[in-house]
């Protein structure tokens, strides 16, 4: 396994039906922000407050981690020690379903009695009966949707670049707040932020019909670029995820 948890063998059977970077039809009209940064790990701080990832269909947490996030089995079993689905601690990743409206949070092992209590199938799991996810099976299929994901501590650091590479959706308000609170060092390491706006026409999508990619500068942040609730697609410069199922 690669140190950052990414599969070394993306062609492994079972992964091709949901290629990493799956993107939902209908979302291509959203502005895409391409990030070229020397240290993409610093976006982990943004990813802790939640982002959305496109999924082709309802699936187990295990399938979500392995396919939608493209994490290796080893990484999931050793590093992803604490998993919450809709605010409930998950013990069995194969018996919890990610469905439309789901909120998933991933963390490494945590300190403290409560940290240990929250751990997957840890010896203290019975101390959290009130907030344990009940195993479930056979959720009805839903078609493509956006699942909300939060990455905490080491997991965020490990996977920040990876998730941006896949393309994540965030609220514009959160993203701008994140940019506005960045220290000097962040800007020194930022090579470029470009915004692509795509319009959907009767003939299909038309990238850059508003005049092509525009570069976002630090001084632009004082302006009202988007409304807070608007969604943006964030990705790394150079990433070209596939569109459609």
């Amino acid at each position: 396994m690669a140190e950052n948890g990414v599969h070394n063998t993306p062609e492994e059977p079972g992964l091709r039906d949901a290629p990493p970077g799956f993107d939902m039809p209908g979302l291509s009209a959203l502005p895409t922000v391409r990030i070229d940064h020397a240290e993409p790990v610093c976006f982990a701080e943004l990813l802790q407050s939640g982002f959305r990832l496109a999924v082709p269909d309802t699936c187990t947490v295990e399938a979500f981690l392995r396919r939608a996030m493209n994490l290796s089995e080893d990484y999931v079993s050793t590093r992803v020690q604490t998993v919450f689905l809709d605010g409930l601690a998950v013990d069995d990743l194969g018996a919890a379903q990610v469905r439309p409206g789901s909120r998933l949070a991933l963390s490494a092992a945590l300190p403290g009695l409560v940290g240990a209590t929250m751990r997957r199938s840890g010896p203290l799991a019975s101390l959290r009966q009130g907030v344990t996810h009940a195993p479930e099976h056979d959720a009805p299929q839903s078609g493509p949707f956006l699942a909300e994901v939060r990455l905490f501590n080491r997991i965020g650091e490990d996977l920040a670049a990876r998730m941006l590479g896949l393309g994540v959706y965030v609220r514009a308000g959160k993203f701008l707040e994140f940019l506005r609170s960045r220290p000097e060092q962040f800007w020194e390491n930022l090579r470029s932020l470009t915004v692509e706006t795509t319009v959907e026409t009767a003939m299909g999508t038309d990238a850059g019909s508003h005049g092509g990619p525009t570069t976002l500068h630090r001084q632009d942040l004082v302006r009202d670029l988007w409304t807070d609730e608007e969604s943006l697609r964030l990705t790394l410069a150079g990433s070209q995820p596939e569109t459609g199922a």
Binding site: S49, F84, A105, L110, A116, P123, G130
Partner: protein, 579 residues
């Protein structure tokens, strides 16, 4: 560590120090020592601020040796906050310094003479001196330490009370200086500072100069066991990576996710601005500003969960605030400004206030309408009023329960009058069992050690079976009490939970230090013995099953987002101490 230092503050002509052999207390350290002395020598029905109460300061069994992460100091007495027995635990350099000087305990006892004189105790290899020094009166801890530094240099430890302890507030700590000689570490809970204040002792200066590290009985075995122990701590994900990188505040995000993060005085279980005050954000701010995200509270800590918080210009503000502090002054009060929280952490440290009790008290005051939730400047002002002893500050300094009483509120999140820490017992019910039943009052550290299944106390507990919370809480409390006796930091518990070889290495270190052949069973017996004594003290002090309960509203008012209540049956609570 074969000597006990007794300071009789009521002796004719002023406080007198007497050293005596450890005698019947031989082999005891940390909480085992403090609780045994309190149970033996303090009448349970005495007033906590009266002459019959005693303050016992004891390094852990391993403190002062080369054993890794073993510098914890226990402070025991009858608590002015709870009215029961108290052991408050602190990091810093005090335990190592006292251990190296050979003291198994320092006991402050007797009746303070009439008047308002304050004394400084100086302990060194040359003996003990006690000096009247009224110029120290009402000095906050940071100012006090600067004065001591000018006189005694920067290689000593200062164990002191701030203004809160002098005013004998039920919320008052005993501060212990860290490796930078800052008063950042505190025996925080239960108002132990007030007991030191009631004895008229402002500070104890411990000078270890000229002493050496304590030598193990079996050096070769000790070296090997300690090496394996450190290797185990470094190898584990929590002690080797999570804690050093983010500190304890790494818990903010996950407790919010679980809906168990008490918000707005325990009304909700999720704080919407958690990401602004999380450990992840805090670590980034510390690093970007040139502070430190990884730092030890004493030399020889292999985990280093602490750090240094600096302001935007790089000036020291306080040590890295702990999870409980960030929660108490942050989410619990609807405050999401880390700079304001760090400022309150500093004020708590310098006045000698417990951050949990203070934050929960401010939450109660906010509910009472004294200031609105989210008012960071107002919250800072309330801490200042407390430290300065204004009329409002005197009420707040009496703790969350007293403040709720003064303002006519039911909603005081306390057990045995002590404020609950940062985990809502409705969401994490097993913690609620420990809050309710520990002899210490609502305390998250009471059931902290997580060596349950390794110790096999009460058999292996299947984690996924319902029930068993009382059993687990009992086992955890037993293991914690034992660990508190050793001087090892409770954070080693994670490595010893997951890695049987690390647990064995820890036991081997103790055995090699004392030439013992202790087994896991002996560790369990030690923990049970401590708890049995503490429970007996509390029973004689008037505690019964009615005090082993959470406030009723935790069973009545549900907690969003999961809308859960605390519903562990009373029968189960009463079965916790069935050993």
């Amino acid at each position: 560590m074969d000597t006990i230092l007794r300071i009789d503050v009521g002796a004719k002509g002023g406080p007198k120090a007497v050293t005596q052999p450890v005698g019947p207390y031989a082999g005891l350290g940390g909480r085992a020592m403090t609780s045994t002395v309190v149970c033996t020598e303090v009448p349970p029905d005495c007033h906590p601020l009266g002459p019959e109460n005693k303050l016992v300061i004891a390094p852990g069994l391993m403190s002062g040796s080369a054993a890794s992460t073993s510098g914890r100091l226990s402070v025991g007495c009858k608590s002015p906050l709870t009215g029961g027995i108290k052991e408050a635990n602190s990091g810093g350099t005090g335990a190592q310094a006292l251990g190296r000087l050979g003291y198994a305990a320092v006991i402050l006892e007797g009746e303070r003479p009439k008047g308002d004189d304050w004394y400084k105790v100086v302990i060194s290899k040359d003996g003990v001196s006690i000096v009247k020094d009224n110029s120290l009166r009402m000095l906050p801890n940071y100012d006090l330490v600067e004065r001591i530094k000018a006189e005694h240099g920067d290689q000593v430890t200062v164990i002191s009370i701030g203004t809160a302890g002098e005013m004998r507030m039920a919320n008052s700590t005993i501060a212990v200086t860290d490796v930078e000689m800052r008063p950042t570490r505190h025996a925080g809970r239960g108002g132990v500072g007030a007991v030191m204040g009631s004895k008229g002792i402002k500070c104890i200066v411990v000078d270890p100069e000229g002493t050496t590290i304590r030598h193990p009985a079996n050096p070769e075995a000790f070296k090997a066991a300690n090496k394996a122990f450190v290797e185990g701590l470094k190898r584990h994900g929590v002690t080797g990576q999570g804690l050093p990188a983010y500190g304890t505040n790494v818990l903010t995000n996950i407790l919010c996710e679980a809906g168990g993060y008490p918000t707005y005085n325990f009304k909700e279980g999720r704080f919407p601005d958690a990401d602004k005050i999380s450990g992840e954000t805090q670590a980034q701010i510390e690093i970007a500003r040139g502070g430190l995200a990884t730092h030890g509270c004493h030399r020889g800590c292999a985990i280093q969960c602490s750090g240094t918080f600096v302001d935007k210009d790089g000036n020291f503000v306080t040590k890295q605030p702990e999870y409980e502090t960030v929660w108490a002054h942050g989410g619990n009060c609807g405050i999401s400004d880390l700079d304001a929280i760090a400022r309150m952490d500093f004020l708590d440290d310098t006045y000698g206030l417990d951050t949990i009790e203070m934050g929960v008290t401010i939450g109660v005051a906010m509910e009472a309408g004294v200031i609105p939730f989210g008012d960071a400047a107002g919250a800072i002002r309330l801490v200042q009023e407390t430290g300065q002893g204004t009329p409002l500050g005197r009420i707040l300094g009496a703790g969350a329960a007293a403040t709720a009483k003064c303002y006519g509120l039911e909603r005081a999140p306390v057990v045995k009058n002590q404020a609950m820490p940062a985990y809502d017992p409705r969401a994490v019910k097993g913690i609620g069992v420990t809050y309710a039943t520990t002899p210490m009052g609502a305390d998250h550290t009471a059931g902290y050690a997580v060596a349950t299944n390794i110790l096999k106390v009460g058999g292996f507990v299947d984690p996924l079976q319902p029930g068993g919370q009382a059993e687990l809480s009992r086992n955890l409390q037993v293991a914690t009490a034992a660990l508190d006796a050793t001087g090892f930091c409770l954070f080693v518990a994670f490595a010893i939970l997951d890695q049987a070889d690390t647990f064995q290495a820890m036991v081997d270190t103790i055995n090699a230090m004392y030439n013992l052949s202790m087994t896991a069973d002996d560790v369990v017996a030690l923990g049970q013995d401590i708890l049995t004594k503490e429970r007996a003290f509390n029973t004689k002090a008037g505690f019964g099953p009615a005090q082993d309960r959470l406030p009723r509203y935790f069973s009545r008012e549900s907690l969003p987002p999961h809308n859960v209540v605390f519903d562990v049956p009373e029968k189960e609570l009463d079965s916790v101490f069935a050993f």
